[in-house]
Structure formats: structure tokens, C-alpha cells
């Protein structure tokens, strides 16, 4: 194997050769997707059971019988759980350990589950202290996990319910054992999404029991088995292969999505879009005048708004000015009337004063001459004999002068008011005319449609630019990821190739070991067992090929055990593998196994732990301590006929 490896190119170099990309680029891309170009898997970290304890109450025929079980098992090697009869709880012990380890029970009967009230199992994980302790309430676990370098430095993680329990165990165990969540992808909501199989999937590798209907792991079929197998055997490049495979799928999916987005651009190519854009730009430029037109339009609009305001203001001012002018005019009229009145009355008085009174207006009697004389001499009214008031011409003149003066002022004020009105009228008219002109201009511009067109072209251009931008981004992303896809795909292919290469050899070794074990375990006429990378098994017995389903349950069980042993051994001998070294083997003697074969199985199992001292193995079966040859009785819990283990 070392030879083979020496002939291998470094992984990045091989990918570079396949893609034509530089090694630097390849390393960058692999790093970007966290694809490890590594040929080995990290070594295993051991997992051991230190102490098992549980208690509760059995309910049999409405009678309650409290029970408790306690077992210190802090040693490597084989531990036995034996009972002379069935149904005395030997499986339960292992199942409880598994429950504590996984966070959920696997094959614990409901009856037993109901009986159990308290569980307390201590482990050692890669040298660290791990204690799982919980009560069972309404069938649900409720407790605490303590984990740390020592009992004193441990931190507590509390859980309430199976889900929380599982989460806690997953978190602690995967990191404690240096196991990655098994990378996988599945279809969810029509899309391939990456997800990680958790701790529960790994734990399938610890247990073989009558109920597992597969070689290794719990479920039949699918990637899971293959992965578990490969991880535990530690075929190099497996991890790289699966990482690269996952990212290939994701990249391909993204690419498909981008292609769909490009379709959203109306099926036009980038060239088409760019040609359109050039056309529009040309149009916009040639109607660069349109810019001018829209400027004109805007300034026309602004002017119109300003003028409208101005016209309104002027109109208001004019109204006020007219009111004022009317008042001034009225004052002038009055002043004129006063002047007239003075002049007219003066003239009239003068005229009538010259006239000789003739006859009394009242009685029409003639007015005598003697009365006239009296008037002239004594200033006595010839009509009524009252003292005549003579008008002082100077006073009259003074009054007339004042009236004239007032009229002059009034005329001036009136003229000013009139002039002001005229000025405003002119301004108003000018503004109205200008407003009219601007209105016409606006109409013309609007009719010519220049500004609107420019707007439309503009928004078309913006739209196209947006589309081009989007298309370019998509294509760029496509190009970038095309490169990534190229490299990742090549990495996947290269890793797959390497896995195949490595696994062929490893599987051959394991298969021959399984064959040897199967023979020893008493599978009749077995000539060869070929374990395949995909966890399928070809059994040649009696000259013909059998598949797994063709085997009897007993043969299946033995094959399973043989496989576990061979895998475990295989992993160790190859210096590869990450199995934590814990095996729980439940009832290997159940299925029609003859005692000598059972003996064979047991001695093989015991031998395994002798050869590889790092293993801790629990075997539960119906039998007597002597069946576990080589296992000291201190390491066996035995229930005689008529008694129970707990």
C-alpha cells in the first residue's frame, strides 16, 4: 500500500491535470468548499463504558417490585451478560446503555421502559469523563449529561425530553470522538439540500443484535451504509469523495437555477440586449435636443407658475388701487362741488342782491319804497326788518381760495391714484400676455411630445441597463462557478477513483477475513464471502452465489458478527479506521446456532479483544458462564434459572 501511495500524484496535482486549472487555483477552490485533499482519516478515539446503573419498579400482576442494577465495567476486554433463560432482561441492559449513549432507545420494550425510573451510565470518551443520568417520566427522559476532563471539571447539560437528549449527545459525542456529521444531501421541498447525519447514525456501528436487518448500521440501503462502512474501515479519500460529491450536486443545482433566471430575460442573449441598448443610446443622443426640450418644458412650467402667482398678486393690487382711486375721485368730486357751490352761490347772491324786492312772497303785498330807503340807510332788511348781514368780499375770497386749494390737492391725489391704477393695469396686462405666451409654448412643447419621449427612452434604457447588469452578473457567476464546478467535479472523480482503488484492496482483505470467520462460525458450505464497498455481500456457498436475502436468519446473524469482527480487526490491522472500540453484541446465540459454533463465535470475539486490547465488548446471551471461555467470572453477570439479572 505504501508503494501504491508513493506512485500517486498529490491530489491537487491530479485534479489540476484533469481540469487544466493551476494547482493554486485547485487548492483555492477545494479550500473554498472545505474539500479536504487528504488521503487518511484521523485515528479513532476510544469510547468505553465505565459504569452501568439503573433502577425502577417492575409491575407484575399488579404487584410492584422495585429493582436496581449496578455494574462497574471500567476495563477493556469482554464482559458477559448471561442468563439461563430468556426474558430476564439481558438485552435490556445493553439497550439501556445504548439509550444513554444515543439519546434515544432502540429496542427497549415498552414494558421495560415503563418499569425504569432512573438510569445512570458513565462512559469514558477519548479519556474524558462522560456521565449520563436521567429519570424517566411519562416515558420521556429528563436529566443531565456531565462532560469534562474529570468529574470535578465537568460541565452540565440539562435535557428534557428525547429530542433535547439527542441533541446534547450528538453535540458532545461527535466532537468528543472527532467524528464529522456524515455529509449527505437529500431532496427537501424539491431542492437538494445538504444535511448532516448525526450521532445516532454512527451508533449503529456499535451494536449488532437480532433485529438489525442489515450488515452494519440500522437501515438497509442508501448511501448511509456505504458511508458508515467506509468511515469505520477508514478507506482513504472517502471523506474527500463525499464532500466533493455533495458540492458537485449543489453547484450543479445553482447552475440550473441561474439558467432559469437567464430564461427570465425573455430568451434574449446578452449580445441582443447590448445591441438594443446601443440603439437607445443613439436615439437619446440624437434627440439630445430633447434634453433641451425638456429643460425648456421645465422652465416654461416654472415660468407659468411664477406668472400665475404674479398675475394673481397684481390683480389683487389692482383691485385695491381701484378702490383707493375711487375714494380719491370721490374726494375730488366733493372738492369740485364745493368750489362750484361757492362760485355759484356767490354769483346767485350777487344777482339776487341787485334785485329790488318787489312783493312779499308770503302775501304778495307790494314792498313800499320807504322800506327800501331804510334798507340802504340803516342796513335793515326791507322784507323782514332784520339786520342785513353783508358779505365780506375778502372773507368770501378767502373761502374761495381755500376751496380752490383743497380742490388742487384733491385733483393731485386723484391723478396719482389714477396713474397708479394705470401702471398696475399695464403690468397686469403684460403679465397676462406673458402668461398667455408661456401657455402657448407649453402647449406646443406638449404637442410635440419631445419631453415625454425622452422620458420613455430614458426609462427603457434604465430597464435595459438593469437587465444587462443582471444577465452579466448571472453569466459571470456561471463562469466563476463553472470553473468551481469543473474543479470540484474533477476532485470528486479523482477521489472516487482513489477510493475505489483503496477499497478494492481493503475490501479484499476484509472479505477474506469475513470468509474465514464465517467458516469458523459455522455457516455451511461457505466458500467465499465478498464484502462490497456498497455494503452488499456476495456469498458463495455450495458452489452457487447467494445474496443477503437468500441467507437464513441464523446465517445472517453469524455473517453480521463475522463482519463486525472482521471490520473491526481489519480497521485495526490496516492502521486505519475510526471505530471507537466499543461493541455491544446482543444474543449471538439465539438463531439456531449450535453450541460449537457459538463457542467459535465467542472465542473469535474474545480473541479479537486479546489481539486488540483497545476493544471493550459486551456480549449478552442465553447460556452459562462457561460458554464464555476465557472470560473471568468477575466480568460476567449471570442469572441462574429462576432468577433475574435485575
Amino acid at each position: 500500500m505504501t508503494d501504491r501511495r508513493a506512485k500517486e500524484l498529490p491530489f491537487p496535482k491530479a485534479v489540476s491535470a484533469a481540469t487544466g486549472c493551476s494547482v493554486k487555483e485547485v487548492n483555492e477552490i477545494l479550500a473554498q468548499y472545505s474539500i479536504e485533499p487528504a488521503g487518511t482519516a484521523p485515528s479513532a478515539r476510544p469510547l468505553r463504558v465505565v459504569r452501568i446503573a439503573f433502577s425502577g419498579q417492575k409491575e407484575i400482576n399488579s404487584e410492584f417490585e422495585p429493582f436496581s442494577f449496578e455494574w462497574e465495567v471500567d476495563r477493556n476486554g469482554v464482559w458477559g451478560i448471561l442468563a439461563a433463560e430468556n426474558l430476564v432482561g439481558k438485552s435490556s441492559i445493553l439497550q439501556i446503555v445504548l439509550w444513554a449513549l444515543r439519546g434515544r432507545y432502540k429496542s427497549l420494550t415498552a414494558t421495560v421502559r415503563n418499569w425504569i425510573e432512573h438510569v445512570d451510565v458513565t462512559f469514558r470518551v477519548d479519556g474524558r469523563f462522560l456521565r449520563v443520568e436521567f429519570d424517566v417520566e411519562d416515558g420521556e427522559p429528563l436529566g443531565v449529561v456531565r462532560y469534562g476532563s474529570s468529574p470535578d471539571t465537568a460541565t452540565d447539560r440539562v435535557f428534557d425530553g428525547t429530542e433535547e437528549f439527542q441533541d446534547v449527545m450528538q453535540e458532545i459525542m461527535l466532537s468528543a470522538l472527532g467524528l464529522e456529521p456524515i455529509p449527505a444531501s437529500q431532496v427537501a421541498a424539491g431542492r437538494i439540500v445538504p444535511y448532516d447525519d448525526g450521532w445516532a447514525a454512527y451508533t449503529g456501528a456499535f451494536l449488532t443484535d437480532a433485529e438489525s436487518d442489515a450488515i452494519i448500521g440500522e437501515n438497509v440501503g442508501g448511501d448511509l451504509i456505504q458511508r458508515l462502512l467506509q468511515v469505520y474501515i477508514g478507506i482513504p479519500w472517502v471523506r474527500t469523495y463525499f464532500q466533493a460529491k455533495r458540492h458537485t450536486r449543489l453547484l450543479e443545482q445553482d447552475s440550473a437555477a441561474r439558467r432559469r433566471k437567464l430564461q427570465g430575460l425573455g430568451g434574449r442573449s446578452l449580445d441582443d440586449l447590448e445591441a438594443e441598448l446601443m440603439e437607445i443610446n443613439a436615439k437619446l443622443q440624437e434627440e439630445g435636443a430633447n434634453n433641451l426640450a425638456s429643460q425648456q418644458l421645465n422652465s416654461a412650467r416654472t415660468e407659468r407658475d411664477d406668472l400665475t402667482t404674479r398675475v394673481q398678486a397684481l390683480s389683487n393690487s389692482l383691485t385695491d388701487a381701484k378702490d383707493t382711486a375711487a375714494t380719491c375721485r370721490q374726494s375730488r368730486i366733493v372738492a369740485e362741488q364745493v368750489v362750484n357751490a361757492l362760485a355759484e352761490e356767490s354769483a346767485a347772491s350777487h344777482f339776487f342782491g341787485l334785485l329790488k324786492p318787489h312783493s312779499c312772497p308770503r302775501c304778495s303785498a307790494k314792498i313800499e319804497a320807504v322800506r327800501f330807503k331804510k334798507e340802504q340807510e340803516d342796513n335793515e332788511c326791507s322784507v323782514c326788518a332784520e339786520k342785513l348781514v353783508k358779505v365780506d368780499p375778502k372773507e368770501l375770497e378767502a373761502e374761495r381760495a381755500q376751496a380752490e386749494e383743497r380742490l388742487k390737492d384733491a385733483k393731485k391725489t386723484d391723478r396719482d391714484a389714477e396713474r397708479f391704477v394705470k401702471r398696475l393695469e399695464t403690468k397686469l396686462q403684460e403679465s397676462r400676455n406673458r402668461l398667455n405666451d408661456v401657455g402657448l409654448t407649453l402647449n406646443q412643447l406638449a404637442a410635440a411630445g419631445t419631453a415625454a419621449d425622452a422620458g420613455i427612452l430614458q426609462s427603457e434604457r434604465d430597464h435595459l441597463e438593469g437587465m444587462i447588469q443582471a444577465a452579466t452578473a448571472i453569466l459571470e457567476a456561471e463562469n466563476d462557478s463553472a470553473n468551481d464546478l469543473l474543479v470540484v467535479r474533477a476532485a470528486r472523480d479523482e477521489a472516487e477513483h482513489r477510493v475505489k482503488q483503496a477499497s478494492i484492496e481493503i475490501m479484499a482483505e476484509v472479505s477474506s477475513e469475513v470468509t474465514r470467520l464465517c467458516k469458523g462460525l459455522g455457516i455451511r458450505d461457505v466458500e467465499s464471502v465478498t464484502l462490497k464497498r456498497n455494503a452488499h455481500v456476495d456469498v458463495v456457498k455450495g458452489g452457487s452465489l447467494s445474496k443477503w436475502k437468500d441467507l437464513s436468519p441464523g446465517e445472517k446473524l453469524r455473517l453480521r458478527i463475522a463482519t463486525v469482527i472482521a471490520l473491526s480487526r481489519g480497521a485495526q490491522s490496516l492502521g486505519m479506521g475510526r471505530h471507537p472500540g466499543l461493541l455491544l453484541i446482543d444474543s449471538p446465540g439465539r438463531e439456531e446456532i449450535q453450541p460449537e459454533h457459538l463457542h467459535e463465535i465467542i472465542s473469535e470475539l474474545v480473541k479479537l479483544t486479546a489481539d486488540y486490547p483497545d476493544y471493550q465488548m459486551f456480549i449478552s446471551m442465553t447460556g452459562v458462564p462457561s460458554d464464555l471461555d476465557g472470560v473471568p467470572s468477575s466480568r460476567i453477570r449471570y442469572a441462574e434459572k429462576g432468577s433475574s439479572l435485575w
Binding site: 375721485r329 362741488q337 355759484e344
Partner: protein
């Protein structure tokens, strides 16, 4: 002011001089012209004192006979400039009977023997049937003299226009006419008569254009 409404008397004098009809043989001695009925005198005086109403009547007559171009000219003169406003002497009351008394003016005129007023009473003497205003020969002479005196000559000229426009229509006819015009122009606000200058100006302007 020392001067008391003598110009009212002047105005009435000219009305009698221009609008009076020749007397009949039954008239008092030394009279030559007469205006029968206080109403007619008042109506004529109304047109003297409200140039816009006078102009309105002139335009009516022009409308009736558009060949009379001189009517338009007269109307123009009457409405000239501020004349209608300056020459307006507002009538305070306009109701039947509550007409402005002309008594003072008549007294001023009859004292120097220019005008004689005569009243005819009903058979039982309880009602005034008619008041007649006679212009004496002396009155006519003095009126002719006064016609040349500024600024009183205006009244003589205006009295001529009024006389012509009034024609031989009775006081009742003239008064009702004047009422109608006031009514038509919404110028009759209860007991006041408002000017109708603007409306008449507008009308005149239209007619000037078309003439």
C-alpha cells in the same frame, strides 16, 4: 357759509325760462311763461340734478329714432367726464308727495317779482288742485341777463336740454318715467335714488361704437 341756497332759485328760474309754455289770456298780468303743476317742475328739476337719468332718457329717445344723431352728442355732453357726479345734487326723498319743497326757491324768485306762484284749490277749498309757476316779464329779462353770468350759465344750458327732452309731457308722465328708470336699474332703494352713471356710460359707449 354765508350763502344760502340761492343757486336753487337760479336753477328753477332757468327751468321756468326754458321749459315754460307761453301763458294764456287767463294768466296773471306781466307773466309770459308758465309751468303748470309742481310735479312737472319737480320732475324737470330732477333731471337738472341727476345728469345720468337725463342721459338715460336722451338715449331712449335716440334708440327710438337713431337718425337723431344730435341726441347722441347731447348725451355725450351730459355724461362728459365727471359732470354727472359733480353736477349731481342728491335727492333725499323720492316718494310721491314727499318731494323736495321748492318753496324756498320760489320765495327767492317771487320776492324780486321774477316768478309768481298761483294755487288753484278744490271747490270746497280743502285740496290744492294745481300749482302754477309763472315767469314774469321781469323774470324773463333777468334770466336772459343771468344766462351770460359765469358759472351760472351752465344751468341755463342744461335747462334748455331738459326742456327739449321733456317735451310737452306732463309731470306725472315724467315722474313715472323716472321711477321706471330707477326701478329698472335697481337704483331705487326704498326712498333713495342711486346713481346709474356706470350703466348709462356703458350704454353710451356701445351706441358710440355702433353709430
Amino acid at each position: 357759509m354765508h350763502i344760502q341756497g340761492k343757486r336753487n332759485a337760479v336753477r328753477i328760474l332757468f327751468i321756468l325760462a326754458k321749459a315754460g309754455e307761453p301763458v294764456k289770456r287767463s294768466a296773471p298780468a306781466d307773466t309770459c311763461l308758465v309751468v303748470h303743476a309742481e310735479k312737472r317742475l319737480q320732475a324737470l328739476d330732477f333731471w337738472m340734478r341727476n345728469p345720468d337719468y337725463l342721459a338715460s332718457e336722451i338715449l331712449n329717445q335716440f334708440d327710438a329714432d337713431p337718425t337723431q344723431k344730435k341726441l347722441l352728442k347731447i348725451a355725450e355732453t351730459v355724461m362728459d367726464g365727471d359732470e354727472p357726479d359733480i353736477r349731481r345734487l342728491a335727492m333725499q326723498r323720492f316718494l310721491f308727495g314727499a318731494w323736495e319743497a321748492l318753496d324756498d326757491a320760489i320765495a327767492t324768485l317771487s320776492l324780486p317779482g321774477l316768478v309768481k306762484m298761483e294755487r288753484k284749490y278744490s271747490a270746497d277749498g280743502s285740496k290744492i288742485r294745481q300749482t302754477s309757476y309763472y315767469l314774469t316779464v321781469e323774470g324773463k329779462t333777468k334770466a336772459a341777463e343771468l344766462e351770460k353770468v359765469e358759472p351760472l350759465d351752465w344751468y341755463a344750458k342744461r335747462a334748455e336740454v331738459v326742456a327739449e327732452i321733456a317735451g310737452t309731457r306732463t309731470g306725472n308722465q315724467l315722474k313715472s318715467l323716472q321711477y321706471q328708470v330707477a326701478q329698472y336699474n335697481d337704483a331705487r332703494h326704498g326712498s333713495l335714488i342711486a346713481p346709474i352713471r356706470a350703466e348709462v356710460e356703458e350704454r353710451l359707449a356701445k351706441l358710440q361704437v355702433s353709430a
